[in-house]
């Protein structure tokens, strides 16, 4: 088990003091039963497709991950060295669980899996990502997605 108290003191302090955005509103969108939903993954793991420019510090843009991209074409370019990568190296689903979503669609737990997923790089200030998230939202809606699973690292 790894909890905050398992992290080095300096990391704990950094996390406790990290400035987080605050919001005046509390949007909360309802939807149909899970078995009818179309699910997409949006991750902040800094995933890129092989050959794409990796993320660098401060990047607030995103990469497009079509569902059919083979796992061996997906790399992790998050700038932080302070999280485990061995899990992702052994199994992409630890971070980008598209195979599991396919299982769940097959078992009719969810309705379907989105055609396209998206990756940001979570070390950047999320406030700089707002316009890009809005663009991603437009693409997700065009794909009829009505459930987004967000995975950090």
């Amino acid at each position: 088990m790894v909890r905050m108290t398992d992290l080095p003191a300096s990391t704990q302090t950094g996390m406790a003091n990290l400035e987080c955005p605050s919001f005046d509103t509390k949007p909360f969108i309802a939807g149909p039963p899970l078995s009818q939903r179309r699910v997409a993954v949006v991750t902040s793991a800094g995933l890129v497709r092989r050959g794409e420019r990796p993320f660098i510090s401060g990047d607030t843009d995103y990469r497009v991950m079509p569902a059919e991209v083979a796992p061996d074409q997906i790399l992790m370019s998050h700038v932080s060295v302070n999280f485990d990568r061995t899990g992702f190296q052994r199994d992409i689903n630890v971070v980008f669980p598209v195979d599991r979503l396919r299982d769940m669609a097959g078992a009719k737990v969810i309705g379907s899996v989105a055609a396209t997923h998206y990756s940001f790089m979570g070390a950047s200030d999320p406030r700089g990502m707002q316009a890009n998230v809005k663009a991603v939202a437009g693409r997700l809606k065009a794909d009829r997605v009505d459930a987004v699973l967000l995975t950090p690292v």
């Binding site: 080095p8 300096s10 990391t11 509390k26 790399l75 199994d91 599991r100 997605v145 699973l149």
Partner: protein, 244 residues
């Protein structure tokens, strides 16, 4: 992630976030979140355990049906069963020689790579993938780049509009991935902290990365200093090894 969730919901999309740092999720106020007691870097938990992964994802997605108000955080009850130390664990290969001489020149680092290459290949064949590739360089060129950077000798070409320091970060990421994938060549993969300790204590590659970090920290260039400070050696290893 919580901020992204907020922005997506603002656009009319229902979201559920995995939370690794509960404190941040509480502060930002994610619409719906499943906090998981897993290591940073493993939001879905156990690698190669589809059943466990499905339980995590199902628990998260169920919140889309059961949560009744924004700011709902549910706690996943179980630990990642694979995140355990294996007493006496050693990687499946032996390195050519100890690191007592402190050598991390191109030849000695390449000999180390040669020794682990069959295990990297074995990992790749079994997994049908590798996460090596950010730099776009072959692993031998990564070695040349790293040792050339330390020695101040000419470096292999990097992609256009990429600084040498930026390319260095990707080279270091590739080298680490190469070693850790080789270390995972058999099914006996221990907790990541055990693998990290072994890598940073025992390999010439780690010695070279530590030397590069030292060099970057001494640079006049602020971006080089930042990459040295943030993107080379994990904070836990900096503390453990007393690197300052």
């Amino acid at each position: 992630m919580s901020a992204l969730a907020h922005y997506l919901e603002d656009e009319g999309l229902p979201t559920v976030a995995i939370s690794l740092i509960r404190l941040h999720t509480e502060k930002i106020g994610s619409p719906r979140a499943l906090w998981v007691p897993f290591e940073l870097g493993r939001p879905i938990g156990a690698p190669r355990d589809g059943s466990f992964q499905r339980r995590v994802i199902t628990s998260a997605l169920r919140l889309l049906e059961t949560a009744t108000r924004s700011g709902t955080i549910e706690d996943f009850p179980d630990d990642d069963p694979t995140a355990v130390d294996l007493p006496g664990w050693q990687p499946p290969f032996a390195l050519p020689a100890g690191i007592a001489d402190g050598g991390h020149d191109q030849d000695s680092l390449q000999r180390e790579i040669d020794a682990i290459a069959p295990y990297y290949e074995r990992f790749m064949a079994a997994s049908r993938r590798s996460t090596v590739g950010l730099s776009g360089l072959a692993i031998g060129d990564c070695v040349r780049f790293l040792t050339g950077f330390i020695a101040g000798t000419p470096l292999p070409d990097v992609p256009p509009q990429t600084s040498a320091v930026q390319a260095l970060r990707w080279v270091v990421d590739d080298l680490k991935a190469y070693y850790f994938e080789a270390m995972s060549a058999d099914e006996l993969s221990p907790a990541s902290r055990q693998m990290q300790s072994w890598f940073w204590d025992r390999t010439r590659a780690a010695q070279a990365i530590i030397a590069v970090r030292r060099q970057l920290l001494a640079s006049d260039d602020k971006r080089a200093q930042a990459i040295g400070r943030m993107n080379m050696v994990p904070g836990a290893q900096v503390l453990r090894l007393g690197l300052g």
